[in-house]
């Protein structure tokens, strides 16, 4: 049995290891001529030492008692890593030549990101077929724990348990994908449509129009986004009523407009760089119309940075919707939504320290939160990779 280390021992071990590696490595390297050991910097030695000691600590924690969440996290990371690797291997051997090449140049993280996004998309699209129950269906057994084991307070009918009023959490998670992700996607598309068209217009025409648009955008950006969104939601519902569906529509429009300010800034900046190129001047001198200039000359060249921004923006919109729902003015019940689920089940997190059923109880709000986190991470993996490609950085 490996005992896990206290913080004092841990840090002492790291420093000792680093020193040993740095000075010892020099001696060994000089004697044997291994360049990597000989030329190792002090910071490099510290890094290696930290890595080894932390790895030991992790293994000790994993095989020791308790630390349930840590074990789950390890399972998650390892499992997703394997899934990403398998998916990457699949992509490398199946498909056309172009996709094979794409997968060869792609890191495992990006492959995992793509796999997860595909999975989320499939779940969202086929939610009606996948979900075992309806999202608003109420069962008599409320507060069932996840795991499906009757001895632990679960039920085989409800694998992930039920919430306080007896709705099946698995079904609500699946429908939540449809509602939350779907609405976030529509909102982001709208934000990009507004932001890109105005941004390119400002870049192409310039002058007064550019000034007016840019200052309006500055004004909108100067107000904290979440508070501004709350304010606008209140005004909108007060003026136009809060019928079902209307609130969601307001939310989409408001978040889209507020988020389009960031898109505007980016697309204007990217557009400015393209507008000064000679090929743009050639097209202008040819007498081309504004629409051709924007869609045929600027847009294809701005595609890569804007696509990367789309991924990031999508995450932010998604989080904004979740926080609005968490505050109670986003997606309205009985529609399932991850933000609302986190809010409704949040008090269960306090049960985590209790033995045996504690972690299971605490996992109730964490499942919806995890769904949000996982998608955010997946999108960012893909975005990082695309940015890397677009910037032309090579190893």
């Amino acid at each position: 049995m490996m005992p896990s280390l206290s913080f004092t021992y841990w840090s002492a071990l790291v420093v000792a290891g680093a020193l040993a590696l740095y000075f010892g490595g020099r001696q060994v390297g000089n004697a044997s001529g291994v360049a990597r050991l000989r030329d190792m910097s002090a910071t490099g030695a510290l890094g290696y030492s930290l890595l080894v000691v932390t790895l030991y600590q992790g293994i000790a924690l994993y095989f020791g008692p308790g630390a349930t969440f840590f074990k789950w996290a390890v399972h998650g990371v390892v499992g997703f890593g394997i899934a990403g690797y398998l998916f990457q291997q699949l992509g490398r051997h199946v498909g056309t030549r172009a996709t094979k090449k794409l997968f060869r140049s792609m890191p495992v993280t990006a492959a995992l990101g793509i796999l997860l996004i595909l999975a989320y998309a499939l779940i969202a699209i086929f939610a009606d077929f996948i979900a075992p129950y309806g999202q608003a269906e109420i069962f008599k057994d409320a507060n069932l724990l996840p795991g499906g084991d009757p001895g632990m307070g679960g039920s085989p009918d409800h694998l992930l348990g039920t919430d306080q009023i007896g709705r099946d959490i698995l079904s609500r998670l699946i429908y939540g994908a449809q509602n939350t992700v779907g609405i976030a996607f529509v909102t982001t598309l709208l934000a990009f449509f507004i932001g890109i068209s105005l941004g390119f217009l400002a870049a192409t025409i310039g002058g007064v129009l550019d000034q007016v648009l840019s200052r309006i955008v500055d004004m909108l950006m100067s107000i904290p986004q979440l508070i501004f969104a709350l304010l606008l939601m209140t005004i909108a519902t007060a003026w136009f009523g809060s019928e079902k569906g209307m609130v969601t529509l307001f939310m989409i429009l408001i978040i889209a407009v507020l988020d389009s300010t960031r898109v505007f800034r980016l697309s204007r900046a990217v557009g400015m760089n393209i507008v000064v190129m000679d090929f743009f001047e050639a097209a202008k001198l040819r007498g081309e119309k504004l629409s051709y200039l924007i869609f045929s000359e600027i847009a294809p060249n701005a595609f890569a940075p804007l696509l990367a921004e789309f991924g990031l923006r999508f995450c932010f919109v998604f989080l904004t919707i979740a926080s609005l729902s968490f505050l109670g003015i986003g997606i309205q019940p009985p529609l399932a939504d991850w933000g609302t689920m986190v809010r409704d089940l949040s008090q269960f997190i306090a049960y985590a320290p209790f033995p045996v059923v504690g972690p299971l109880t605490a996992s109730l709000p964490l499942m919806a939160a995890g769904a949000i986190a996982l998608l955010t991470v997946a999108v960012n993996f893909v975005v990082d990779w695309m940015l890397h490609r677009a910037s032309g950085l090579k190893e």
Binding site: D39, K101, R104, F279, A283, L285, G287, N301, K394
Partner: protein, 551 residues
């Protein structure tokens, strides 16, 4: 270490470049020996590996490059296997590097002299006050104006040629044994170039420094180098001392390089009196914003089938004149007429027919072609836009145009610009201009970014097209050999004014206007004694920008 041993000895060097899953050989089995105090010129087209070889002499490779074979001995130290510590001791102190663009290589946030003192301080060669005093001494030797004061300016407050000399001074700061000059004058005007050349040559001689001088300009290398090595796609073609190389090159490739400058089209007779010029500028004065005019009272005519070369240094207003003709910059006063019809000043007010008659070919083919469009689309768009051709007819016309510029339609029509070489891109730029079927084309420094062999091909193509289609060209250039090759008339501009104008043959025979004379005399010739003769004849104070400022 005996004095007879060479300072640098590179033997059987092989360097690979790794990009996008493929390995390509950049340097293939090249050997090089350089003695103390000797200057070696490296010559070749772009992609010949001359910069890579130059950097390898410092034991350095760019990202994505890897030394796979051979060794590099610098004064008995093998730089391939040397530790980073050893290399750090050498670089900056015993080996220095002067980059092509001094403006991009200086840190804009620090004063020049502070950057100069960095290397001596870092290597413990001298104290700060000593380093500064030495810097001022070097500035004086390099004939920089106000040597006591110039180092305390920021890089943007100093002109390009002066900055290049300041950079040479910086490389000298630790009195290195070896300096690598990587195309130090390529981006400069001729009159500025000559000053930098004189300065570099003197200082290298004074301190007995060995140097590797990388350039694609043969006439420059003839002045600078003791020995010349010619490279072609990573292979060594031949090496000899400069005079032997110039007088009796052995290899065919070297001979073809030497012959480039001989291309010359005879001047056409002047247009008949009373003939209607294709384009005429009448007293054009133009300015950016509310600043002082950059073009002042400029008038000249361009006749059918003729080439008018507009010559001048950067900032002389030649490109601004072109912007006035295209309508991008409406002139303050004066007008531009096409076949005696006055064109609207702003391009947005011109009709499609008027826009079509004036086309432009750009200097940088990289930025002149939309990188996301295929060649077929790039050429096809003006065909469709101006002639209204669609579908198969459009494609046929695009294929005709590609054949016209001597490129195989089947092979190139579906390529992206990034899949073409520099010269091919420039040809596509020409095809795009021709697609509009214009009467008049502005060629803005079309050959200055190209290698000499490729540039010659472009000039021949332009000449042939002019014969076939009765085109008129306005040729903007600072390279007088281009003017000599294809121009009929020459307009010399300085500070926005026309200094001299007339038929080519007259311009190249004395007597000249003083400025034209200076421009002509500053163009390096293939004669290795040219710079010495010029210095003896005029003195160092009457060359280049120093002479311009006296006018």
């Amino acid at each position: 270490m005996s004095a007879t041993e060479p300072l640098v000895k590179i033997s059987n060097l092989e360097i690979d470049g790794i990009a996008d899953e493929t390995r390509t050989r950049i340097i293939n089995n090249v050997s090089l020996e350089l003695n103390r105090g000797e200057v070696m010129g490296l010559i070749g087209e772009s992609g010949a590996g001359k910069s890579t070889l130059g950097l390898a002499a410092m034991g350095f490779t760019r990202d994505g490059c890897e030394i796979v074979g051979g060794n590099i001995m610098f004064d008995g130290i093998d730089l391939v296997t040397a530790t980073p510590d050893v290399k750090r001791q050498l670089l900056g102190k015993r080996i220095a590097y002067v980059a092509q663009s001094a403006a991009a290589s200086f840190n804009p946030a620090h004063k020049i002299i502070n950057q100069h003192a960095e290397a001596p301080l870092c290597h413990g060669v001298s104290s700060r006050t000593e380093a500064e005093a030495d810097a001022i001494d070097l500035y004086e030797r390099l004939r920089l104006p106000n040597p006591d004061e110039i180092g305390f300016r920021y890089p943007h407050q100093v002109s390009g040629g002066q900055l290049q000399r300041a950079m040479t001074a910086m490389a000298m700061s630790c009195r290195p044994d070896l300096i690598i000059f990587d195309e130090p004058t390529t981006a400069l005007d001729v009159t500025t170039q000559i000053e930098v050349l004189v300065a570099i040559r003197e200082i290298v001689e004074q301190f007995q420094t060995a140097a590797i001088y990388i350039t694609h300009d043969l006439a420059v290398v003839a002045q600078m180098a003791d020995r010349v090595k010619v490279l072609l796609r990573g292979d060594e073609v031949e090496e000899a001392d400069t005079r032997t190389m110039l007088d009796a090159p052995r290899e065919d490739y070297t001979k073809s390089l030497w012959a480039v400058r001989s291309f010359q089209r005879p001047q056409k007779p002047l247009a008949k009196k009373g003939a209607v010029p294709v384009i005429s500028l009448r007293n054009v004065t133009a300015a950016y914003g509310s600043n002082d005019p950059v073009v002042r009272d400029v008038s000249f005519d361009i006749h059918e089938g003729r080439t008018v070369a507009v010559v001048g240094e950067s900032g002389s207003g030649k490109s601004t004149t072109a912007r006035c003709i295209t309508g991008l910059l409406p002139p303050m006063t004066g007008e531009i007429a096409f076949q005696n019809q006055v064109l609207p000043a702003d391009y947005r007010k011109r009709s499609v027919h008027q826009l079509r008659q004036v086309q432009m070919i750009y200097q940088m083919a990289d930025t002149a072609l939309n990188p996301r469009k295929r060649i077929g689309e790039i050429i096809g768009r003006p065909v469709e836009f101006y002639l209204g051709l669609k579908g198969a007819e459009k494609r046929r016309r695009v294929e005709e145009l590609l054949e016209l510029i001597e490129m195989d339609p089947k092979e190139y029509i579906n390529r992206l610009p990034s899949e073409l070489s520099g010269g091919q891109k420039q040809r596509i730029g020409i095809a795009r201009a021709l697609a509009a079927e214009p009467k008049f084309i502005i060629c803005d420094e079309v050959t200055s970014a190209l290698d000499q062999l490729v540039a010659e091909g472009i000039l021949k193509l332009l000449t042939r097209l002019q014969e076939e289609m009765k085109l008129s060209y306005m040729l903007i250039t600072h390279d007088l050999s281009t003017v000599r090759a294809i121009a009929d008339e020459v307009v010399v501009m300085k500070d926005g004014l026309i200094v001299e104008a007339g038929p080519k043959d007259e311009m190249f025979t004395p007597p000249h206007h003083a400025y034209t004379d200076l421009l002509l005399s500053s163009v390096p010739e293939m004669n290795p004694d040219w710079l010495d003769e010029l210095l003896a004849q005029r003195g160092a104070e009457n060359l280049g920008d120093a002479a311009v400022s006296k006018m």
